[in-house]
Symmetry: C2
Subunit: 170 residues, 2 copies
């Protein structure tokens, strides 16, 4: 059965379940001096698996028709790979999928904030100071990062030199 | 959408995806002196979530109509809960579900071995020395535990005093 399944196209409900378990939506805000405001907003969707399950990542990529598979990290447990989606065009298509097929865990809340950030970027708000602050605030509301990002936000100024990586949800 | 979903019954494909991500099948073999052979075979299915997602565990329990929800562990990240299925009768029903709805990741292989152990227990093989050894060998083939359990198996005798917990996949 498993062997047959290797050829099968994934099912949308299966993908939602798998992403409810293994997916993550996050938004990094990186200091890039050459950019207008000095910061780059980098939204990203990721599903990480041990390399033994790289096939399922390939199937995810095949289902969506975009994204890439790269090494996530290597450690004593072996190599972990990730299916990663970046770039507004692809992320907008990804949002459409998860709007049509909503997540069922608390990850849904994260997704909603992520979608709001993408929407702001569609409107080019990340190119203004006010927009950048709004995005950083939204990012601070995403799960697990609240304490850390709140602290970063407290000291946040778009011109600050110190924070190379002011919002980096894991 | 999320709020509506709270009331919705889970979908089988979603469950498979979620279990491909978050589920685990494992078999502990514990030393229990009062038992005939001195060992108890304890197969278990588990899905662990942060307590913020206890609702989804309740829905899993509701879908299957068996199993229980207990605390998995408490640490600095908060409380983790688990949906846990034990006992041959319920595990046989669980196997039926995953036979009808096969896992798509390498967890499928683990499931197959788990199913073989349950089958052996249905036939009461765990009550014989030969059966117990066979089950321990099957358990040693389950993911991630190969090194550890192989080492245990090498020294394994059903009468040994030392190993309180000879096979304890995580």
């Amino acid at each position: 059965m498993s062997a047959d399944n290797q050829q099968e196209r994934l099912d949308a409900d299966w993908i939602v379940g798998f992403v409810d378990g293994e997916g993550s939506f996050h938004v990094a805000i990186n200091k890039i001096p050459k950019m207008t405001l000095g910061f780059q907003v980098l939204p990203e969707f990721r599903v990480v698996q041990h390399e033994r399950d790289e096939k399922i990542l390939q199937k995810l990529k095949g289902y969506f028709g975009f994204g890439e598979i790269t090494v996530n990290r290597k450690d004593r447990h072996g190599i972990r790979k990730e299916f990663r989606v970046r770039g507004l065009e692809n992320l907008n298509r990804l949002l459409k999928f998860f709007q049509d097929n909503p997540l069922k865990t608390s990850k849904y809340r994260n997704f909603k904030i992520f979608a709001e950030i993408i929407e702001a970027m569609n409107n080019k708000e990340h190119l203004t100071k006010e927009g950048l602050r709004k995005i950083a605030e939204l990012a601070s509301m995403m799960n697990r990062q609240q304490d850390r990002v709140s602290k970063i936000l407290r000291d946040y100024t778009p011109d600050a030199r110190k924070s190379e990586d002011i919002v980096r949800p894991l």
